[in-house]
């Protein structure tokens, strides 16, 4: 697959759908291997989840963590996709809903903006190499997902 504007756009839409549907279930999360480079770097610009020095340093670490939280999952809905064909980079503003698996209730709702660097791997398939992640700062007193699911964050 070539890294053209239209291919990147449709691949990113698919990525968000697959992540929300399969990416956080221990039985299906390995599907995310199709989207992440092995040396994926996830950089959260959010101190509460590691800050820019923390985050994840490989695909395995990301997937392992995503499938480890059994009491909640996040549903991501892309709202604005900015595609830079020249630099092979994408910025996506998306809605983020944290859902309590037991009750189905949406317990956190906010917006986020992330930067994705893409590459073509040895099989000419698109992979995400770097994710830089920012989220909306909610008013003080509103709990974040890691407050609500302290033992399973």
């Amino acid at each position: 697959m070539e890294l053209t504007y239209d291919n990147i756009l449709s691949w990113m839409k698919e990525y968000f759908k697959v992540y929300s549907t399969y990416g956080q279930d221990s039985k299906t999360a390995d599907k995310m291997n199709d989207y992440f480079a092995p040396d994926l770097r996830f950089i959260p610009y959010i101190a509460g989840i590691g800050g820019p020095e923390g985050g994840f340093f490989s695909r395995d670490e990301f997937i392992r963590t995503a499938k480890s939280h059994s009491s909640w999952y996040e549903r991501l809905t892309p709202e604005d996709i900015t595609v830079d064909e020249n630099r092979k980079a994408v910025a996506v503003r998306f809605g983020m809903e944290v859902v309590n698996r037991k009750t189905g209730e949406v317990v956190v709702k906010k917006s986020a903006l992330a930067h994705y660097e893409l590459i073509l791997d040895e099989n000419s398939t698109i992979k995400i190499k770097t994710i830089r992640f920012f989220w909306e700062v909610l008013p003080s007193g509103i709990p974040e997902f890691y407050n609500l699911f302290e033992d399973d964050a």
């Binding site: 800050g51 900015t82 630099r87 903006l113 930067h115 989220w135 909306e136």
Partner: protein, 150 residues
């Protein structure tokens, strides 16, 4: 001017340079009229920072913290030539205007939808701001800017 990939990159680089030089001084802030549409909309995804509509209202926000100077350095510029949007990862240094001491350093990630005005010059139509969340207890930009409201 056409809204091509190269012109957008160059325009955004000029914008940050002008912002740093002129954007927080009441004598020169109107030079930023070259960059913002008259109805520019500022949407911060940060609780406690107000939304604004219109260039003058935005300038009031920029001029509301004379004791702290905000320097923006673009680190990554993502340009969607088809949709006329730039998204920029920015290093932000907030310094004390008197001493020059840097008090806060963090990153912004900002989405800028662009338009061509009636004179065919590029203008920023919206500013959608996300910012880095610093550790609890760290000095924040709002703490520095609040010094001007005491």
């Amino acid at each position: 001017m056409e809204l091509t990939y190269e012109t957008i990159i160059k325009y955004m680089q000029d914008y940050f340079e002008s912002f740093n030089k002129y954007g927080q001084d009441p004598e020169t802030i109107h030079r930023l009229n070259d960059y913002y549409a008259p109805d520019v909309e500022f949407t911060p995804y940060v609780a406690g920072i107000g939304h604004s509509k219109g260039r003058d209202e935005f300038y009031r926000i920029l001029l509301s913290h004379p004791s702290g100077y905000e320097k923006l350095t673009p680190e990554e510029i993502v340009v969607d030539e088809r949709r006329k949007i730039a998204v920029v990862l920015i290093k932000v240094d907030i310094s004390d205007s008197k001493t020059g001491e840097i008090l806060v350093t963090k990153r912004y990630f900002v989405l800028y939808p662009l338009v061509l005005d009636e004179n065919d010059t590029i203008k920023i139509q919206k500013i959608q701001l996300f910012w880095e969340v610093l550790p609890t207890g760290a000095l924040e930009i709002s703490d520095v800017f609040a010094r001007d409201h005491k």
